[in-house]
Structure formats: C-alpha cells, structure tokens
C-alpha cells in the first residue's frame, strides 16, 4: 500500500545545468591578442564544476575555437536538454564568453558570431533558463544598453526550486566601452570579480549560496570601482533580464566544493587569493564587519593583502573536505618584487606576447625506412639546415625549411662480394603546414609537408659517373619540444614518400628525417 502510494507520487523535478564556456585570445584582423581570455574561461570551468553543480561532461569548454565549433556545441545541447525537460527536469544553460567583440559580433579568432545569432542560439537551446556572461569589449551591444545601468533591485525569493524561465544576459561593459584585462590580477576585471562572486565573495546574506542577483550586484560594483582609475576608463557591466516567474537562480553553493577558507571579521581588509598550482587568481574578497567564506579546491594558495608599499602574504594549504581559517597571524610581510603571483602571471603574459615568427637551425639525419634500400642505394647521411615557422595563436602553423647533407657509405649489391663505396649528398626545400598544441612551454605539432628533393650519389674510385634524382616528395611531420620563452628546443620527425622508381623497386621508397632544432622567436 505504501509502495503503491509512493509510486503514484510525481517524481520531484531536478535542475539540470549545462555550461558552454568560450575563451579566445584572438580577435579579428587588427585586434591585439588578449592574454587571459582563455585562462578566464578555464577559471569559470573550475568554479561551475566545483560549486555550480555542473558535472564535467556537461561543461563544454571551447578555447581558441571558431564559429563552427560554437554553433555545433550549442546545437549539440538541444538533445540532452529536450530529454531532461521530457523527464520533467528544469534546465539551465550557462554561456560564458571571454574574448574580443565589436558592436556586431563576438570575434572568435577570424570568425564571428553576431549578437543576434548568440541570442538565437541561447533561445534555441531549449533550456528553461539561459544565463549568459559576456566579457568582451562593447558587449553591452547585446543588451542594447549604452550607458551604465545600476543593478536591479532584485526581490526574488531565494529557493531551492527554480520557478523562473527566460534569458539573462550580463555583459562586462556597455555597448561603447572597452573591457579590460589586468596584468596585476592575471585576467579581465569582469571575470575576476565574477569568479570571486561565485566563489563566495558575493554571498551577501551568508547563506552559503550565491545567487544570480548577488553575483550581478557584486560584479557590477567591484568592476565599476576597480576600473574607475584605469587609463581606459570605467567599465560598466550591464544586464538584460527577461525572466518570467519568481525565484532567484542559485549559481553556486559553497558547501558543494567541500573545502572552504574563512576570513574572520577580526582581520578586516581586501584579500586576493592566488592558486599556486594553477597560477591564477581565483577570488578576491572584502571583509568588513562579518566573516566571509570562499569555496576553493584543495591545494596550495597564496592569500595577499595589498598595502601601498608592501604585501601581507599568507601561504595556505586548503584541505580536502575541511575549512581553514585565515588569521592575521598567518600573514608575513613581503616586498612587491618578491610577489610570486606576479611572477607566475608575468610568465603567462610572456608566453602570450611571444612573437609568431620563429627560426631555428636543424641538425640530424636522413635515412630510408627500408633497410634494404638503405643498404643497396642510399646510406643514411647527416643533414643540417634552417627553418622558419609562422605560428598562429590558434595553433595553425606554416613553415619553410632548407636541409642539406652529405655522407659516405658502402652499398651492398646483390651477388657482389664487395661493397661499393659511395657518397650521398642531398639538398631539400620543404614547405609544411599543420596544427600544434596551445602555446605552452611544452608543445607538440603535426602537419603535412612537401619537399623539393635533390639527391646525388658519387662513387669515388669506381669509374662510375655520379647519379642523381630530383623530385617532390610528399610527407608528414611531427614535432615536439620545449619552448620556455623565445628560445626553442625541438625534436622533429619527418617521413616522406619518394615518388621515384629505382631499378623497378616500387616499394620501400620512403625516407625519414630525424632532426634536433634550436630556435628563437623574433
């Protein structure tokens, strides 16, 4: 009887969340590359998965990707959202963008998605609630707000149940303002305060939940305040709020992360929290008359309080499933030049500022893949040369190279009891293009290449004229290396097919080049 009663009850509706996080340091033609847009997107990914109740598979992170990837990703959300709605669940989609934009579109590298298209994509996702954070210049275009707009006076009840539907768009600036990055905080102002808000800094009522309205009000005030003194000018976050129904959307829950740090009111001030493991500022919190709590992943952190000429720094380790109180006793005095966080951020900037053109000297060897060909026709030889490569920040690259080499060997010809001494010399000009991993100290790339190839064999003291072949050899190239800054140390492996038939041998005519490169970005 009880079972029958339970079965007859409607299943309680859950809230299903998805997030599409887009970061792109590259803008359209002429746009100065950003340093932190993609890092900001990663930062948002951490927060939404740790405290936002979104599982990893439901987060789509697009870094340095273009229009087609965004359209595909948004389209791919429709099916799971529709399925969730069919189950009676309520659905929320978060969209976050950090990158370049103008008054017509988001600039995804050389491609773009217009503001109108973005609104349509959000609408067509089918989610009950769509929340977009757009951290980009002139992003207020989408909210059609031309001037600074104060946060609305939210009066929604905070509840576990979402009783609203519609779209909320929060932008980092108005339609005619620039959105700014800051070297000091290692990110954009807007996202820095958005992350801080979601981590707990915006939890005004201290209930352990950060709602959408709390988030917006915190981000608005902090962004306006912090950018007021910048050379670019004050940046005013804007909003477009098209929600029907009642209730506020809980963005994050501090207890969900499991680990928190507590700033007691006995030590007031503004504190910045830097994740030493991931080299980024994760939150900033202002402590006045009450304790403040931030949710963090377990790990090593620096907590900084800035004074005009010095820093107070606390090094803390956030435990797994525990709360750590940061007292005044934990802080020690440090000079600005010893600021570890700044050093880490500077390295990020240094990587982002690296020139796109690199040149390297190459040295290594060239040999045929088939041992029989190598033995009978072309002994391996050392080669050396130069290469220059143009690296797009999106990962594409093109390169041209010149290699030459010469070496001696002894050919073993069938049925002859003696070897044929030979010298093999070659020169090659290569053109290649491909994709590489993101800019980082350790990188790898792969691509296709065409090699204009000239090889000559001479036979000292054999009374035989020299022999040569000239051809174009298609091939593949893969490289990996260490790129700590402008200096580059790289290992390359190339393989080519030689489209030339020697003595009716139509197999095994592939040759490889293994090269070590020392390069420089300039």
């Amino acid at each position: 009887m009880l079972l029958a009663l339970l079965l007859s009850l409607p299943a309680s509706a859950a809230i299903q969340r998805w997030a599409v996080l887009v970061g792109n340091n590259e803008g359209g033609a002429g746009a100065t590359p950003l340093y932190f847009a993609e890092l900001d997107a990663r930062k948002m990914q951490r927060i939404l998965t740790d405290q936002g109740g979104i599982s990893d598979p439901d987060v789509r992170l697009l870094l340095g990707r273009g229009r087609n990837d965004l359209l595909f990703t948004m389209g791919a959300l429709r099916e799971p959202i529709a399925a969730a709605r069919a189950r009676g669940d309520q659905t929320v989609v978060y969209f976050y963008y950090s990158g370049h934009a103008d008054d017509t579109q988001l600039q995804l590298g050389r491609t773009g998605v217009t503001w109108a298209e973005l609104e349509t994509l959000l609408e067509k996702s089918g989610a009950d609630v769509r929340v977009a954070f757009v951290d980009a210049c002139q992003s207020g275009t989408i909210t059609r707000t031309k001037g600074g707009t104060l946060a609305p006076s939210f009066v929604f009840d905070v509840s576990e149940r979402l009783d609203s539907s519609g779209t909320v768009i929060i932008t980092s600036s108005t339609g005619d303002e620039a959105s700014q990055e800051s070297d000091a905080i290692g990110g954009s102002y807007f996202t820095h305060f958005l992350a801080s808000a979601l981590t707990g800094a915006a939890d005004e009522n201290r209930d352990g939940q950060v709602t959408l309205s709390e988030t917006y009000q915190y981000v608005y005030h902090k962004t306006v305040f912090e950018t007021a003194g910048t050379r670019t000018g004050t940046q005013h976050p804007t909003y477009e709020w098209k929600l029907s129904g009642t209730g506020d959307l809980v963005m994050t829950e501090l207890d969900r992360a499991g680990s928190t740090i507590l700033f007691p009111a006995t030590n007031p001030g503004t504190f910045a929290v830097f994740d030493q493991d991931h080299k980024l500022f994760v939150a900033e919190v202002e402590v006045t008359d009450t304790d403040r709590r931030l949710a963090l992943r377990p790990g090593r952190y620096l907590v900084q309080r800035r004074f005009p000429t010095w820093l107070a720094v606390a090094r803390i380790s956030v435990p797994v499933y525990g709360s750590l109180t940061v007292d005044s006793d934990d802080f020690v005095r440090a000079e600005y030049e010893d600021d570890v966080a700044k050093g880490d951020i500077d390295r990020v900037i240094q990587q982002a500022r690296l020139p796109r053109l690199s040149a390297r000297v190459l040295t290594g060897g060239r040999g045929f893949a088939d041992a029989a060909v190598q033995t009978a026709y072309f002994p391996s030889t050392p080669v050396a040369g130069v290469e220059t490569r143009f690296n797009w920040r999106t990962g594409q690259w093109v390169a041209v190279d010149f290699l030459a080499g010469s070496g001696t060997g002894t050919l073993a010809v069938d049925e002859l009891p003696y070897g044929i001494p030979t010298r093999v010399s070659s020169a090659a000009v290569g053109l290649e293009a491909g994709y590489a991993t993101r800019q980082a100290p350790l990188r790898a790339g792969a691509g296709l290449r065409l090699e204009g190839f000239y090889l000559v064999r001479t036979f000292p003291d054999q009374g035989v004229a020299s022999q040569s072949v000239t051809t174009i050899a298609p091939g593949l190239v893969a490289w990996a290396g260490w790129y700590p800054g402008r200096f580059e140390l790289e290992l390359q492996l190339r393989t080519h097919y030689l489209p030339y038939v020697v003595d009716d041998r139509d197999q095994g005519m592939a040759f490889n080049e293994l090269l070590l490169g020392l390069g420089w970005r300039f």
Partner: protein, 301 residues
C-alpha cells in the same frame, strides 16, 4: 601520386654495379673448372679384391686431384680479383687493380664484344716489364656464367712476373652450358726444377653422369726398372650408383700386346667386378654389376 611521379626525374640505378657480376662471371671458378671424380679423398690399403677400392678409380682420383691442384693455383689468384670492386667501368669493360702482387702490380681486365663475347686477361707488371700471364675468351650462354670458352695460363710469364724459375703453360677449354666439360692440356709445365709436366685430360659431368679420360703410364712388372706401359683410362660413373673404368694398356713390359682392363664399383666405391684381357689380374665379381655394360675407350684425347 601520379602527378608527383611525373615531376620526378633522375638516373639512380645500381645496374652498372649489378652488371659487375656478369663481368666477374667470365672468370673461371671452382665449380665450373675443376674435376670432381668419385672418392673425394685417396684411401690406402688393398686394391685387388672384391670390396677394395678399385685401382683404376684410385688412379683416376689421384690424377684428377693433381690436375685440380694446378687449376686451384690459378683460381686462387682469380678469386683475389673477384673479391674486390672494379677500379674502372665502362659499358663494355671492367678493370681491376692495380693490386700489389709479387712485388709488382697485378691488373685484370674484361672486355665485352657484341652481346656475348668476353675477352679477359690478367697482367703482371713490375720493374722488369709487363706481361699477360692469364688470358681467356668466354662466350655467354643462357647466363653469362653458363657459357663456354678457354683460358691459358702462361706459367713462364707468371714466373717472370714473380721472379720464379717456371715454364710451360696450361690450357683449359671449357663448356658450362649444360654441365661441366673440360679439356685440360698441360704443356711442359715446370716449377723450379727440370721436371716437366705434360698431360691431357678430358672431363665431363652432365646429365648426372661423369666421364674422365686421361693418359698415364704403368709398371706391370712393378720392378721400377722396366719400361712403362702406356695406359689410356676412361672412367665413367653415376653418382650414388657406381662406375666403371676401362683401360687400354700398351707398350712397356707388354711389348706388342694390348691389354683391356676393366674395373667396376658400386655406390660404396668398392670393387664389384674386375677383368683383363690377358689374365694379368684375377677375374672378380659379376660383370652384370657394372652400371655400364660395354667397354669404352678414350675418344676425346
């Protein structure tokens, strides 16, 4: 890929080196220019009874090994050149050397004429002069090696080159188109002593049958003082079956008489039959045991 193939051009080839093998193949080599008579090694002991090694077979083997020893001297020198790369190549020639030898320089050369003729020579030169001491002409058959021809070893010229007191010459006519067919003629060969070696030998091994013919002498009285009889021996054999040796003895102790002497053996190379026309030896065995039924005299010398 087809398009790429069209833009490839060149002349890389090992053909010129592979053809070295053809030029080298005209030189005599062991398998084609030596006599391979059954027995391989000489055995001592009784030779006049059933089960013994037949005397004529033993003699044939002794003669073959002796001839081979002369040919091996030539082959040893040829193999030294065969093992090194030519020093000059044209479409129709290869040259080797100079290679240090006998205090001078040894060179070799092969010239191709037409499609199949190869003329070749080994030359020694030193302060005293230069001379060809080994010359030959080879005609290619189905392969270059499977051909025929002749070569001449000038033992006197070689002695001049190496500062030795030698004389005479050795001529080998060969035909390797279907097997091994040799006519070996030693003409007054001498090495450091007045003794000279004259002899003619015909050897053939083809279609799984061997045939060795030669002339030698025999002391019938075995007293070491009588005139030696002349013996013309023809030895024929089928490997793993057996063989037959027929000898015609004339002169010497025999005077005007002629003796026809036959010995046969089986696959174990032991005597299965013996008979001579004068009864000088004991008749043994059954003639039906001979793999060849008829007496056969020499016909190539």
């Amino acid at each position: 890929m087809l398009l790429l193939s069209l833009v490839a051009c060149g002349d890389i080839s090992n053909g010129v080196f592979a053809e070295d093998a053809d030029f080298v193949a005209v030189f005599p080599e062991e398998e084609r220019t030596t006599l391979d008579v059954p027995g391989a090694v000489l055995v001592d002991g009784a030779k006049g009874a059933l089960g013994d090694r037949p005397e004529l077979l033993t003699t044939s083997l002794e003669v073959a090994l002796t001839v081979n020893s002369a040919i091996f001297d030539i082959l040893g020198l040829v193999d030294e050149v065969r093992g090194i790369a030519p020093s000059a190549r044209t479409r129709d020639s290869r040259s080797w050397g100079p290679v240090p030898a006998c205090g001078g320089d040894l060179t070799a050369e092969v010239l191709r004429s037409g499609a199949s003729q190869f003329d070749w020579r080994f030359n020694g030169s030193n302060a005293a002069g230069a001379a060809d001491f080994l010359t030959g002409t080879h005609y290619a058959g189905s392969t270059v090696a499977a051909g025929d021809g002749a070569f001449v070893w000038d033992h006197a010229a070689y002695g001049v080159f190496c500062g030795e007191d030698t004389g005479g010459r050795l001529v080998v006519d060969y035909d390797n188109r279907t097997g091994v067919d040799l006519l070996v003629d030693l003409d007054a060969i001498r090495s450091g002593s007045p003794d000279v070696w004259d002899g003619a030998y015909a050897y053939r091994f083809a279609d799984a049958e061997g045939d060795f013919q030669y002339l030698t002498t025999y002391d019938f009285s075995d007293d070491g003082t009588s005139e030696l009889a002349t013996v013309a021996v023809r030895t024929r054999w089928i490997p793993d079956v057996g063989g037959r040796a027929d000898a015609v003895l004339t002169g010497g102790d025999l005077g005007d008489r002629e003796v026809l002497w036959t010995q046969c053996w089986g696959d174990d190379l032991t005597m299965g039959y013996q008979h001579d026309s004068l009864g000088l030896t004991e008749d043994l065995g059954d003639p039906a045991s001979c793999p060849y039924a008829d007496f056969a005299e020499i016909d190539r010398l």
